[in-house]
């Protein structure tokens, strides 16, 4: 195999490892929300450092490949998309870290009813699925898989846009849970951001494979 291919392969592996780490972080943040497990939340914060260092490593490796191999065509698009996916993943990692921080700050356990009414669990479900599917699409270089997540993002948007009404409804019923409700709202906002990041990742995958720029285009 050519040296450049070897380098690209190793960067790809690094990125996939980071991807799995970030997915695990998001799953863990869901668990620590349902279990109200502050230890797990702290673990997420520790692992966030690993996400950050993975991001730096990938950046550096990309820089080296750019400098040493002057990649062109598909190799160039691959590296450019890796760079962006890398920073998107890091943001998703930050989001998981942010959720963990709320858990640590929160005083009392979140009521299951609150979680059900606000459909936070659905959001986690959709978010982690989106991460999984895009990863699969990336590994298999499958743009159909990558495109399939745009629909899923709409679910997140919809839940997010109903969130205010749901929270108000809930607060009318349990005005004493104001604290929790605000946290829940913040978590919803953050999870909505996960959808946006993953959508960007999918766009990068399509750019890398098909050389089409679909960013900022109106959905037909």
């Amino acid at each position: 195999m050519k040296q450049l291919e070897k380098e690209l392969e190793s960067i790809k592996t690094e990125l996939i490892n980071m991807w799995e780490l970030v997915s695990a972080q998001v799953s863990s943040s869901r668990d620590c929300l349902t279990e109200f497990d502050k230890d797990l939340a702290r673990e997420i914060q520790v692992k966030e450092k690993r996400v950050n260092s993975a991001e730096l490593n990938i950046d550096q490796d990309c820089e080296n490949v750019f400098a040493l191999y002057s990649p062109v065509a598909v190799d160039l698009r691959f590296l450019l998309s890796i760079l962006k996916i890398n920073s998107n993943l890091e943001r998703v990692g930050d989001i998981a870290d942010g959720i963990a921080k709320y858990i640590i700050d929160a005083d009392v356990c979140f009521k299951p009813e609150l979680l059900t009414v606000t459909r936070i669990m659905d959001m986690f479900e959709v978010g982690t699925n989106m991460l999984k599917i895009t990863l699969l699409g990336f590994e298999r270089e499958d743009t159909v898989l990558a495109r399939s997540i745009f629909k899923m993002d709409e679910v997140l948007d919809e839940i997010n846009s109903n969130a205010n009404a749901n929270i108000i409804e809930y607060l009318k019923k349990y005005p004493e849970d104001l604290d929790q409700a605000l946290y829940a709202l913040s978590i919803i906002r953050k999870l909505e951001r996960v959808g946006d990041q993953v959508k960007n990742i999918a766009e990068e995958i399509i750019f890398y494979i098909e050389a089409k720029v679909i960013k900022h285009r109106k959905q037909e």
Binding site: K2, Q3, L4, Y69, S70
Partner: protein
């Protein structure tokens, strides 16, 4: 830290009164590919030819300072011994036109009158050609003349001829400058394989080539060693502004 295989200390080379390599000190670690780059006439080829004492063959060429191979000054050894320990591949492929591919590969033994049994010869030819990634292409035509091969194959034959002597270091003087891009790519791939067994020093005009193939890069300018560092470092964050200007193509 393992001691370097090659160590040049305050080395100078001259053509008559012309000082072409100025006070070069650099260490070359074992099993590395070291690229030497720089503009034409910067002394890089001369420096390379000093390492295996080919420089002194030119009338009026002199040197000062030391180059150590395994901590022993090559200028204290016999030149013929040095050249057996330090192989060289030239800019233009130069297989011996009167010899077959087989005989070219073992030319170092054959022409030196070193007696080998048939099986030893076969073994050396096969392993050298395999290391030079040429075996598959020529194994059925070993007794054809070396000059029947294409340019890239001839150059790999020259590499096989050099490594058949089991040198410690292989010097390559712009080995791909006379070759087309495909042959160039195959030679570059070969270098990555060769560094498992040898230490390589490659002179090249071509910065991209230096970047692609080497672990460490030296930048020569006007006979001086301007900068010598890991290739990644050199190409992402060179320390010297002259290096920066050269690799970014801003050289005036």
């Amino acid at each position: 830290m393992e001691s370097p295989i090659l160590n040049s200390q305050n080395f100078n080379a001259y053509f008559g009164n012309n000082h072409v390599v100025k006070n070069v000190s650099m260490e070359i670690p074992r099993n590395n590919v070291v690229a030497v780059m720089g503009p034409s006439g910067c002394g890089k080829t001369t420096f390379l030819r000093c390492i295996n004492r080919m420089h002194e063959l030119i009338a009026g060429a002199t040197t000062s300072g030391i180059i150590e191979l395994n901590e022993e000054n090559v200028y204290d050894m016999h030149a013929i011994y040095v050249r057996q320990k330090i192989g060289m591949v030239f800019q233009r492929p130069n297989p011996f036109p009167n010899l077959s591919i087989y005989d070219n590969t073992i030319a170092g033994y054959k022409l030196n009158g070193i007696k080998l049994s048939k099986s030893e010869k076969d073994g050396i030819v096969e392993s050298s050609l395999k290391k030079a990634a040429l075996w598959k292409e020529v194994k059925d035509s070993l007794h054809k003349k070396g000059t029947f091969l294409s340019g890239g194959q001839q150059q790999r034959l020259c590499i096989a001829r050099a490594i058949a002597m089991q040198p410690e270091i292989l010097l390559l003087d712009e080995p791909t400058s006379a070759l087309d891009p495909i042959s160039t790519a195959s030679i570059e791939e070969l270098l990555h394989e060769l560094k498992k067994n040898f230490t390589l020093v490659i002179v090249t005009h071509n910065m991209q080539q230096a970047a692609r193939v080497s672990d460490k890069t030296a930048f020569f300018y006007m006979g001086e060693l301007v900068e010598y560092d890991d290739t990644k470092q050199m190409f992402t964050n060179p320390t010297d502004t002259r290096t920066q200007n050269y690799i970014t193509g801003r050289f005036s």
